[in-house]
């Protein structure tokens, strides 16, 4: 289409020049503003990621220790599970916009909602864990062995469902990591349970907990690395800002705790306590890193827009808009 000069009325004066569009990936966003909303969750949620994993994996550890006849280890692991099991629902309720309506979580059982399924898992695991722990220490709970079995069984999904929960959001760094994130959280849960139990148990009885903590630490490092590698450019938020800081703290504390545990954990109670605390800090810090990375990936439109266009140009048409960008 051309506008014409009024004097000659034949000279084309304006040709629509295909102008390069500024911005990341050659596509302009809306004034650089985010496409997605950042989550509204506050500090309670990453803490719950930690305590949920701690509760679930500690229950499993305690149950296995009972099976092996290591009652000392079992009791200490049940104590760790109980601490997490009491803290978890309090943290979650505290984060609600309407805490007095926490019972609405149990209005229905909704299979499409990981938060609904997770709430029911937490009700069962969080309810049975203190009973199991009290029974393990006192033997006062009627039918206590069923509480212990229930706590151990529901501890398994409790330790990893939060990863499925966040990867069922639109936040790119969580959404795209939906296959790896549960393994990161599962490793973290194993490390949390091992570390807390190592700190609480005399070293002589804590060998399985030490192994679990170390295996969790190694698996956590490997799965985190693999997850970030598979995210590619989408994983950049892990290398920026608060997410990077928490990630670094997690790695340093994890490495220090693991080294201390390997070198002195068997012989020194003080070293066992210190390494347990370091590994616990590492587990908590790693969850914070994942949490913060989600916010950072939502706030920058390039992590949303670029990969979507790449997917469309690869021929993925599901849920795709037809109009191609002008470049």
């Amino acid at each position: 289409m051309t506008a014409t000069d009024p004097t000659t009325s034949t000279t084309p004066v304006a040709t629509p020049a295909p102008e390069a569009i500024a911005g990341d990936g050659g596509i302009r966003s809306y004034h650089g503003q985010p496409v997605l909303k950042e989550p509204v969750w506050s500090w309670e949620i990453p803490c719950y990621f930690y305590t949920g994993g701690l509760t679930g994996a500690s229950s499993g550890l305690a149950f296995l220790a009972e099976l092996r006849g290591n009652d000392l280890l079992a009791r200490r692991a049940w104590a760790a599970a109980m601490m997490g099991g009491v803290a978890s629902p309090l943290l979650l309720i505290s984060d609600l916009g309407k805490p007095e309506r926490f019972l609405n979580m149990l209005r229905m059982f909704k299979v499409t909602s990981p938060m609904s399924v997770g709430s029911w898992i937490l009700v069962v695991a969080g309810g049975s864990t203190p009973l199991a722990a009290i029974d393990a220490w006192t033997g006062w709970i009627p039918g206590g062995k069923y509480a212990r079995r229930t706590a151990a069984m529901f501890g398994l999904p409790l330790a990893t469902y939060t990863a499925a929960l966040v990867s069922n959001t639109a936040i790119p760094v969580w959404h795209k990591a939906h296959r790896m994130l549960p393994f990161v959280f599962g490793s973290g849960a194993a490390m949390s349970a091992g570390a807390a139990t190592v700190a609480l148990t005399p070293p002589g009885a804590a060998a399985p907990a030490r192994r679990l903590a170390l295996a969790g630490a190694v698996a956590g490092a490997v799965t985190s690395e693999l997850m970030e590698h598979r995210l590619g450019e989408q994983g950049e938020p892990y290398k920026q800002g608060a997410a990077a800081t928490f990630r670094r703290v997690g790695r340093v504390a994890g490495a220090a705790g693991a080294l201390l545990l390997v070198s002195r954990g068997r012989s020194s109670r003080a070293a066992a306590v210190a390494s347990g605390m370091l590994l616990s800090a590492a587990a908590l810090s790693t969850r914070w890193s994942v949490f913060k990375a989600g916010f950072q990936s939502a706030s920058d439109p390039k992590y949303v827009i670029g990969p979507q266009r790449e997917a469309i140009s690869r021929g993925e048409r599901r849920g795709a808009a037809r109009r191609e960008p002008r470049i």
Binding site: S113, L156, A163, S187, A321
Partner: protein
């Protein structure tokens, strides 16, 4: 500008559920924000501060939120749109001294002055290239077929109504916040004061009384049309065809009229006529319910990770079993 059959007040009958929706035609939006005001007024939503510079350009609203359910976006084109070129041509032909906008808005451009001032064609071309303009777009909840917020909601506060719209029941919502990151369009938000989530209800209460939603009612150019979804898609498709005939070839529908397996979020109850790539309006080029995309593989991965961790714990016991029995254990701290 006529865009097909006019919708004013449409009686809604509850019997025989019919999908109701919005067709928002950005080519006739003038950015007056009457929809934002009407929405706030009818739904009794608090003001969230019209602060100049809060958004970008002349967008002082910033964002859809729990208390802002319509949001007029001010999209800046850094080159004149086909419509503006057409207008410029008409102005030159008629010799009228039309003023054209430039971005950044440092005064208007007068093409006739430009043509008469210097060596004609070159100056006019330069003036035209400096023209820029705004495309306005009244954003709203999309009332998706595959609604991420609805899938995610653990309390059942978010429901699908008899009008096939997605409505949040404030008396049920406990403010868990899961719907917020579950929306691929960044629509739903939690009110920091109130603690509950909030979003467009497509004026559910007005629909019950046979009234059209407040924003559509107030729209002076019929940029926002309300009606049965099927009818709106027909009207919108005719509108796109007419725009193409007029040379505005970039016009397309966002969220309607696609092949069944290519629908944005399964098809949008509130869809749009756009002339630029969706990203420029702050819309995703690809959208689906994140739960429906990920729930099966993510759940399998979670179960797998849990089982693997358990297996690890079992191995830790088997490997450490003898070790723990080797030395005497004192029950002490």
């Amino acid at each position: 500008m006529s865009t097909g059959s006019a919708h004013t007040e449409i009686a809604i009958h509850r019997s025989g559920a019919q999908r109701m929706g919005f067709f928002t035609d950005t080519t006739v939006c003038i950015g007056c924000k009457a929809c934002e005001v009407a929405c706030k007024q009818w739904n009794d939503l608090p003001a969230d501060g019209s602060v100049p510079g809060k958004g970008a350009s002349y967008d002082y609203t910033g964002d859809l939120s729990a208390s802002t359910w319509r949001h007029v976006r001010f999209v800046e084109l850094l080159e004149p749109s086909p419509q503006l070129r057409e207008e410029a041509q008409r102005a030159l032909e008629s010799g009228g001294g039309n003023k054209f906008p430039a971005i950044p808005a440092s005064g208007a451009i007068d093409l006739v002055d430009a043509a008469q001032a210097g060596d004609g064609a070159a100056d006019v071309a330069e003036a035209v290239s400096k023209m820029g303009d705004w495309v306005f777009m009244s954003d709203v909840c999309k009332h998706c077929t595959n609604a991420g917020c609805l899938d995610a909601c653990p309390t059942g506060a978010l429901i699908r109504t008899e009008h096939q719209t997605v409505v949040l029941q404030p008396d049920v919502c406990n403010g868990c916040g899961y719907c917020v990151p579950a929306c691929p369009f960044g629509v739903v938000d939690r009110d920091p004061q109130d603690g509950r989530a909030g979003k467009c209800t497509l004026c559910y209460d007005r629909l019950e009384d046979g009234l059209e939603p407040a924003c559509a009612k107030s729209c002076p150019t019929d940029s926002i049309q309300f009606g049965p979804h099927e009818e709106l898609v027909e009207i919108a498709s005719r509108r796109v065809a007419r725009l193409h005939e007029r040379g505005i070839e970039g016009a397309y529908l966002y969220g309607a009229g696609d092949e069944p397996d290519e629908q944005l979020a399964g098809g949008l109850g509130a869809f749009f006529l756009l002339t630029e790539p969706p990203e420029l309006y702050g819309l995703p080029a690809q959208a689906d319910s994140p739960v429906q995309e990920n729930v099966v593989p993510a759940t399998l991965a979670a179960v797998g990770a849990g089982l693997l961790a358990s297996a690890g714990a079992v191995i830790a016991f088997v490997a450490a079993g003898r070790l723990s029995r080797r030395r005497p254990v004192r029950e002490s701290w």
